[in-house]
């Protein structure tokens, strides 16, 4: 059991209430999250820091509706995710959540622009409108215009991550969930990506939840939450 996050702002965008999650591995039950309470205000940039295996990716998956808690509730803008059926959850995810992964997870057979277009295919938009939004998203993340048709394998790690971020924001989701977004990049490229996330948070007021084990990256967020053995160990505002 851990303490409730003391967040300064008004009604939080995301609220976790006594959320528990465990896995069975080799006949053994591993408690990954244990009655976690956490509130994430709208417009926050929150970094989740934890050692490996302490449940930070699990928490991110729960926040994104990719997994369901064993116990407890996750409220997103007042809606309990566990009350949504599979279809509604998929639709909710398409509207509200943008994912950014450590390994970018771009589709290798598609160009950068086509990758960014993927979430837009789910919306009833014409080709021209999709192209306009793709170009805007790629421009926003600082992706070079002359590389829109390049495939992921033809891009650097930093460029791939920019494409992945563009894909995550192209539908203008409510929250960005970033799983070690700089984990596969060198320091310089990583800093550029962090700059970009900070920019998205400050300029566009995007709520960002970032999982990281890198203290340097975590310091760029507004709020730092430490997870320890399935519990929220520390919450504090960073110097950013």
């Amino acid at each position: 059991m851990t303490e409730i996050a003391a967040q300064p702002s008004s009604e939080p965008l995301i609220r976790l209430e006594r959320v528990s999650k465990s896995y069975r591995r080799g006949g053994e039950t591993i408690q990954v999250l244990d009655r976690v309470d956490l509130a994430i205000p709208r417009g926050d940039f929150l970094a989740l820091m934890a050692p490996s295996g302490s449940g930070k990716s699990t928490l991110l998956n729960l926040l994104g509706g990719l997994d369901r808690p064993d116990e407890g509730s996750i409220l997103f803008d007042g809606v309990a995710l566990e009350s949504l059926g599979p279809r509604a959850l998929t639709r909710w995810r398409a509207i509200h959540v943008g994912f950014v992964f450590q390994l970018y997870h771009l589709l290798p057979v598609l160009s950068a622009a086509r990758n960014v277009e993927l979430p837009l295919l789910l919306q009833r938009l014409g080709r021209a409108e999709r192209a306009r939004r793709v170009a805007a998203a790629l421009s926003l993340v600082g992706f070079p215009d002359d590389r829109h048709t390049f495939r992921p394998t033809e891009l650097s790690g930093g460029q791939q991550q920019r494409v992945a971020i563009a894909r995550a924001i192209v539908t203008n989701p409510t929250v960005l969930l970033c799983d070690e977004p700089t984990g596969d990049l060198d320091r310089r490229a990583g800093d550029e990506i962090l700059d970009l996330l900070v920019e998205l948070n400050r300029r566009l007021d995007k709520t960002i939840v970032m999982v990281t084990h890198d203290p340097h990256a975590a310091e760029r967020a507004r709020t730092l939450v430490r997870l320890e053995k399935g519990l929220v160990g520390e919450i504090r505002a960073t110097s950013s």
Partner: protein, 389 residues
């Protein structure tokens, strides 16, 4: 749905060699399908066109054993019989045995009366042939092939009968060229029965005898009763008969060669089953290799149903492309072979119904090959798949 097409195309382009080989295997299967359906059509296609009011009376022993011509009057006296024609299989060829002709020696007035509308023969030519004992009617396919014209005298040879003068050649004059509505009649050559009967060697035993009778009845519903009545008349004669509908007769005759329908079905079943395994394996492997990609698409808001739709579209493109190419190639080959096989298999052509059957097979194989991918997608644990990557 077209907006997803680049995604589907890209998925197929992911492993080009495998995609090309799979399309190739589907192509071969549908090429075989087209060719075998054409062979089936050549053998069995005419059966549906056979008149339902036509009965065939033949010797109960076999077709080789003829029946006396005197039986005609007895058959004609059976109630509900409208007309009785007869014919002899001539076994004809022109110059060399390779130039096989579908030649029959018939009774001209009754034959023409039965097939007046189907033969596509002008009244003048019909009258000329009936009056000309040595006259010959030939289908336009034969006339075109050998360059025959009306009035030309042809040395027609038989590989069955010999003349009383010791030769096997019957000089005949082309009295008319058939331009029939049905392709099977385009390969016919018709000569007078009496010309053959009167000139054939006595030793052949054909003189005064016929191979079979074609019996026209008033109503198709009477076929069984009339057949029984005819056979009853000859039950105690030296030449007992077996009467059946023309369709049954033709099917029994073809069965003596081989059960074409069963053979074609068996080969196609084996080919398509193999094709199904190949396609299903391709799809299952393709989806398994892209587990992480499907997981990412789930994070973007793609539901399992939409992902399954994408997989079905991939399978449809794969099987559809192969099927289309196979059928087109098959059609091309059939056009070429149609000319070469004109005398042996005159009806060698892809029946239009094959396209509907082909389409049904495509749908069936797309759905069948999508079953395993469907299960893979339905069981996809997104978080696990992303973690494994």
């Amino acid at each position: 749905m077209t907006r997803y097409l680049p995604l589907v195309r890209a998925a197929l382009a992911r492993r080009r060699a495998r995609t090309v080989l799979t399309i190739g295997s589907v192509l071969i299967a549908f090429l075989l399908f087209a060719l075998l359906m054409s062979v089936r059509q050549a053998f069995l296609g005419g059966i549906h066109a056979v008149g339902k009011r036509i009965l065939i009376t033949a010797n109960v022993v076999s077709l080789v054993s003829p029946l006396p011509l005197a039986d005609r009057a007895i058959i004609a006296s059976v109630p509900r019989v409208r007309r009785v024609a007869y014919e002899v299989w001539f076994g004809g060829y022109y110059r060399r045995t390779g130039n096989f002709l579908f030649a029959l020696a018939v009774d001209p007035p009754t034959f023409v009366a039965e097939l007046r509308s189907e033969l596509g023969l002008s009244p003048r030519a019909r009258a000329r042939w009936i009056a000309d004992r040595r006259g010959l009617l030939v289908g336009n396919a034969i006339a075109r092939r050998f360059g025959w014209h009306v009035g030309e005298v042809i040395p027609l040879r038989s590989n069955i009968w010999r003349r009383s003068n010791g030769t096997n050649t019957w000089p005949v004059r082309v009295d008319g060229i058939l331009r029939p509505s049905e392709k099977r009649y385009a390969q016919l050559a018709l000569l007078h029965y009496h010309y053959l009967s009167e000139t054939v060697a006595k030793s052949t035993g054909l003189s005064g005898k016929v191979s079979l009778y074609r019996v026209e009845i008033a109503h198709a519903r009477d076929a069984a009763a009339v057949s029984r009545a005819i056979d009853a008349r000859f039950a105690n004669s030296p030449d007992p008969t077996r009467t059946s509908t023309a369709r049954t007769f033709l099917l029994n005759f073809l069965d003596q060669i081989a059960d074409i329908g069963t053979i074609v079905t068996a080969i196609l079943a084996a080919v398509f089953f193999t094709m199904l395994l190949v396609t299903a394996n391709t799809m299952a492997r393709s989806v398994r290799e892209r587990t992480a990609e499907f997981a990412v698409l789930r994070t973007l808001g793609y539901g399992p149903g939409r992902l399954f739709g994408l997989v079905v579209a991939e399978a449809a493109l794969l099987v559809g492309a192969g099927a289309l190419l196979g059928l087109l190639l098959g059609l091309g080959l059939i056009v070429v072979l149609h000319g070469l096989l004109a005398t042996i298999l005159p009806g060698f052509a892809l029946p239009p119904s094959s396209f509907a059957l082909g389409l049904a097979l495509v749908v069936l194989f797309v759905l069948a090959s999508s079953v395993v991918p469907y299960l893979q997608i339905a069981r996809l644990a997104v978080a696990d798949a992303l973690r494994r990557e």
